[in-house]
């Protein structure tokens, strides 16, 4: 009889311990900062127009620079500066957004609010000479893409 009681008690204890372990919890905590990440992708290429007065990534054979902007909040905006590095009478940049934020082609100096998530940014640039042409040679420009 004593043996049966002992086995029963041991069994109950084991059962109790087992069920306690099964309901245990492990806690995790963490925070995500509100921030913006710009990642440069493929650089663009500018080509001349038919009369060589304009260099643009929108001309035949040219293509836009590709960038991504990842926002973890809804308080950020994206803009691009006027391109630097090419001597011209007028220079401009523009961008198109797709993904988390969608926006048709927009003048670079106009800031676009970013929605949280990953936004693809296509950056175009153009430089025009009112008189004269872009003579033979290499032309390099820099466009600033800003998230703030």
């Amino acid at each position: 009889m004593k043996k049966i009681i002992a086995i029963t008690i041991a069994s109950m204890m084991a059962s109790s311990i087992s069920s306690f372990a099964a309901t245990g919890t492990a806690s995790f905590a963490g925070t995500v900062d509100s921030t913006c990440v710009i990642t440069a992708g493929n650089p663009g290429r500018v080509t001349p127009n038919a009369d060589y007065s304009n260099l643009s990534s929108a001309n035949p054979g040219g293509y836009a620079s590709q960038v991504t902007a990842l926002a973890t909040g809804n308080t950020f905006s994206l803009s691009t500066d006027v391109p630097a590095g090419i001597s011209a009478d007028t220079s401009s940049s523009s961008y198109t957004l797709s993904g988390a934020t969608n926006r048709p082609i927009t003048d670079g100096t106009s800031a676009a609010p970013l929605s949280s998530g990953l936004t693809n940014v296509s950056v175009d640039m153009s430089a025009t000479r009112n008189s004269g042409v872009f003579t033979a040679g290499a032309y390099n420009s820099v466009v600033t893409v800003r998230c703030e």
């Binding site: 900062d33 509100s34 921030t35 913006c36 990440v37 710009i38 990642t39 440069a40 650089p43 663009g44 290429r45 500018v46 990534s57 620079s65 960038v67 990842l70 973890t72 308080t75 950020f76 590095g85 950056v123 640039m125 290499a138 390099n140 420009s141 820099v142 466009v143 600033t144 893409v145 800003r146 998230c147 703030e148």
Partner: protein, 129 residues
């Protein structure tokens, strides 16, 4: 040299482990009893190789501000981050708004190059003056 007493306030609470984020935090306020205030940011490198970033300080109209930066140029390993402290002079103002920007340059010399710029906005308030 004036003794500078600075309150880092909430800006000091940032985690150095916030990798893969270009600039954190991107908003902040600091209060200072001295002629300048401090902003501490963490510059992150989201790329798969090391990158060099410049840290620049501008006012709210994007004119350069002569601020002291612990690392005006930082080399950060892939997926890494680095803390940078910026001391911004009030220059007679009681409240000063600045942008602290992490700038990277990408593309080869014969390509359309991109300067990526992530800017946080910070406000310093001088107290006790």
């Amino acid at each position: 040299v004036n003794k500078i007493v600075t309150i880092l306030a909430s800006l000091a609470a940032m985690s150095a482990a916030s990798f893969a984020q270009s600039v954190t935090p991107m908003r902040g306020e600091a209060r200072s009893f001295a002629d300048s205030f401090a902003v501490r940011i963490v510059v992150g490198n989201p790329y798969k190789n090391k990158q060099v970033f410049a840290v620049r300080v501008y006012d709210d109209k994007f004119y350069p501000v002569e601020a002291q930066v612990t690392f005006s140029e930082v080399t950060i390993p892939a997926q890494g981050s680095k803390s940078v402290v910026v001391m911004v002079p009030f220059d007679g103002m009681t409240t000063r708004k600045v942008r602290v920007c992490a700038e990277g340059m990408f593309g080869k010399a014969n390509e359309q190059r991109l300067r990526t710029q992530v800017c946080g906005k910070y406000v310093g308030t001088r107290v006790g003056s």
